[in-house]
Amino acid sequence: MALDPKLLEILACPQDKGPLLYFADENSLYNPRLKRRYDVKDDIPIMLIDEASTLDDAEDKRLLAKAEAEGIQPTFS
């Protein structure tokens, strides 16, 4: 089950408070500014700074291209 739009529209990175890209099929939320990815486990977004992973440039490029191709918009603007 995907995260609810009512939650997504206010979900931000706990570190810089900016919007995220939600990849429902990968169960992850991505902050392209800090290149930090938050996992979604059992429909619960794990928004803990210590639990996030830092992505390398290749993975960053892949996710940005995917967001562009699939029309994935930031959680808010």
Partner: protein, 249 residues
């Protein structure tokens, strides 16, 4: 069993509410029943799984609708994953006594609250809590346990400094104070001790008969014996904030 009074919180249908440290979710469930778009947040993912499961059951039973259930978020109160001014109401019940940097947690909660929005903060009441600490050190001195005992003036001053007008306070759960004293006397690893069990049965009976004399008696005893102290704050608007040096950061 609610600690916060939702009327004093000023909750209206359709408003967005954040429950910081939702735990078992009792305040989140009530907020959803009252029509708030509710986010339950906790540091424990295990608790959140239960909250999500119970919410799912309430959806199936028709007690709440999808319009109310926004979801759950596993996060730290010190670093909330929301932009500024994103909630109309915030509840944080029996949380700040667990957090060393309680002022940073409060600053975060006020940051995500919109100007004019209200927050309800509950902490253990000073003297029943003091008795608990004196009776049994294990009551608080455990990982994740209570790190301080708030004086009423201390918690009020911290809420004010975080950028809120104080909008009144009250006590709650008078019958729970003796329960914890009994538990501490009988040993926290001994939940089946006869006095603890009997008093627990009494508490359950009170909850089941909440429309009869126990509720009135507890209400009368709350100012003196209340286990919890509840304070309501209202976030100042930017045009008011400029008149003082008080920081909204």
């Amino acid at each position: 069993m609610l600690t916060v009074n939702f009327e004093r919180l000023g909750l209206q249908r359709g408003e967005r509410l954040l429950d910081v440290g939702a735990g078992g979710g009792r305040h989140s469930f009530q907020a959803m029943k009252l029509g708030a778009v509710t986010v339950a947040l906790d540091y424990s993912a295990t608790d959140l799984k239960d909250v999500a499961a119970v919410s799912g059951a309430m959806l199936v039973e028709g007690e709440i609708s999808w319009e109310q259930y926004a979801g759950v978020a596993n996060a730290n109160a010190l670093d909330l994953p929301f932009p500024d001014n994103s909630f109309d109401r915030v509840i944080t019940s029996e949380v700040l006594e667990h957090i060393w940097d309680d002022e940073r947690a409060l600053a975060e909660m006020i940051r995500v609250l919109r100007p004019g929005g209200r927050i309800a903060v509950t902490v253990p009441n000073y003297w029943p809590e003091r008795v608990n600490w004196a009776l049994n050190w294990r009551y608080h001195d455990v990982p994740g346990g209570h790190v301080r005992i708030f004086r009423q003036r201390e918690i009020e001053a911290k809420i004010e400094r975080a950028g809120c007008y104080l909008r009144g306070s009250h006590h709650a759960h008078a019958f729970h104070s003796p329960y914890w004293w009994l538990k501490n006397i009988c040993g926290l690893d001994n939940p089946n001790a006869a006095p603890v069990r009997k008093y627990h049965d009494f508490l359950v009976w009170c909850i089941e008969n909440h429309d009869r004399w126990p509720a009135q008696a507890e209400k009368a005893l709350n100012p003196m014996l209340g286990k919890s102290f509840v304070i309501y704050g209202e976030k100042v608007t930017p045009d008011m904030a400029q008149y003082g040096k008080r920081s909204l950061a």
